[in-house]
């Protein structure tokens, strides 16, 4: 039985660490959101962050990208202070305070992922256009590149944002509840592409509100409830006592390997079938 001590250090021996969060405290005007959270994510790892509402999951991601300033603690990306590595982190906010009537086509939004590479001044180069085309291809949106974003379905909008994150070619990907309210096809595209970027050496951190599909999706889970309650492989972390700690006694009932059956796993219902 693995120790439940709140220390999320698996194997990584410094060199392969892409994201290193140490002793992170953060809060808003009237409440504490995070208290001393440690989290290290190695290259190629996919980490799911779970926990109840208000557990600080989104705040954790926002601290990494600099949208929330930690009150204490250190965030390092690729061994450097995160502030010096902004462009190396791709961030997919919870969907989103975006005005979908904005005059932009799918390719324009994806092109924004190239901002860290090209800076504010100057034109996109060939490698940028290649990265954009590749990202569109990977999320199955190549045919909709010139469609105005207002015309997209919810799943297509989310894939557009995923493509933007892919086009950024970052070494750390942070996704805040990317699966919320999506169709099965889009969820599968996200699964597939996150697995691909992890395989290519990126560190992936996903905030997951529900407890579905965790075993399949993540190498490791971090259970957050202001503090890090537990961290480790899903099989070790998804236990009654851990979840009682995080969510309150009896709030979550575990049934089988996954806590909750995932409606998105019902592949037979999808006429297109898995890719």
């Amino acid at each position: 039985m693995r120790s439940r001590r709140a220390e999320a250090t698996p194997a990584p021996d410094g060199a392969g660490v892409r994201l290193d969060v140490a002793g992170l405290h953060a809060g808003y005007r009237d409440r504490v959101a995070l208290e001393g959270v440690d989290l290290r994510v190695a290259a190629g790892e996919r980490v799911g962050v779970i926990g109840p509402n208000g557990a600080g999951k989104s705040t954790l991601l926002k601290c990494v990208v600099g949208l929330v300033r930690p009150t204490r603690g250190v965030v390092q990306v690729e061994g450097q202070p995160a502030a010096r590595r902004r462009g190396r982190v791709a961030y997919l906010p919870q969907r989103a305070q975006i005005d979908w009537d904005h005059p932009a086509q799918v390719r324009d939004v994806v092109a924004m992922g190239r901002y860290p590479h090209r800076g504010p001044v100057g034109r996109l180069r060939r490698e940028d256009h290649e990265a954009i085309a590749d990202a569109l291809e990977r999320v199955d949106l190549a045919g909709l590149a010139r469609v105005r974003i207002a015309e997209l379905s919810g799943g297509q909008q989310q894939r557009t944002f995923l493509a933007r994150a892919l086009a950024q070619q970052a070494s750390v990907l942070l996704l805040d509840e990317p699966y919320a309210g999506l169709d099965a096809a889009t969820a599968r595209v996200i699964d597939r592409e996150l697995a691909t970027v992890a395989l290519a050496g990126a560190a992936v951190v996903v905030v997951n509100h529900d407890l579905a599909g965790l075993h399949r999706r993540y190498d490791r889970l971090a259970v957050l409830s202001r503090r890090l309650i537990a961290a480790g492989p899903p099989g070790e972390v998804l236990r009654g006592d851990v979840l009682d700690d995080a969510y309150g006694r009896g709030a979550v009932v575990l049934a089988g390997p996954d806590a909750v059956p995932d409606p998105r796993d019902a592949r037979s219902g999808d006429p297109q079938g898995p890719p």
């Binding site: 961030y91 305070q97 005005d99 901002y115 949106l141 297509q156 297109q272």
Partner: protein
Amino acid sequence: MIALGGLLVEPVLQYGFMRAGLLAAVVVGLTCAVLSCLLVVRGQALLGDAISHAVLLGVVVGYLVGGELGVLGGALVVAVLTGAAIAYVTEHAPFRADTSMGVLFTVTFALGLAIMSVAQPRGIDLMHVLFGNVLGVSSADLWLTAVSGGLVLLVVLVGFRAFSLWSFDPVLARAMGMRTRAVEYLFTAMLSAAIVAALQTVGLILVVAMLVVPGATAAMLTSRLSSMMAVAGVVGLVSGVTGLYGSFHLDVASGPAIVLVAGACFLLAFLLAPRGVIGGVLRARARSRSTTADTGPSASAREEV
């Protein structure tokens, strides 16, 4: 042909003020139009209104300190300071930015009027500042217009991708390391420069229209920010030039004439645009005639590829 030449060319050849006015109208039309796109897509159509009020104080103080050459500097400084004050008040008071804007810009305007009524600077005519006076465009004014307008256009052109990201998704822009607060101040400064450029042709009151109408018109005709800016630029240009000629021949004040042409462009787009009134009626009729359920304009886009 000759009659047309008489209408369009002769005034320019004969009257120096028409040459100056035309140049000013072109610069103002383009500059305000490009900024109006950013204002419209950011949902800040009335920010131009607010800043134009603050610019009065800048114009008065700048003129008192440095004469005609101080006007642009004064306007920039006051606009940026007021912008900073708005950010500060919004952060420390229990209401949103529109309220602090409403307070600070009107008070700034009042301060400008007060100083003006005390100092009574001889080079500034309040009526001309408020409503424009294209007949009185001096060569110094023209330089001021060209420099301020040219600077704004240059910044938008060079930093287009930054403005595009910032206007679409400021949160992501910050996450990618853009200093969005600085961009906001820059944008405020650009607005005030455009307003200074427009002082003589359309004046402080009606410049507000030029900071909304071209962008609103283009929004109905385009689906990308770049093409929106191009179309808005054309609308601004056409409004400026046509309005100026209309003003000359029909003896209408130049500011209102320019804005009325822009308004006519808007009306045309509103009626004729693919997503406009007439297009909507046609689509509705086509829908009711067809029997299949899903032939809406976006049906094809919604289909998985």
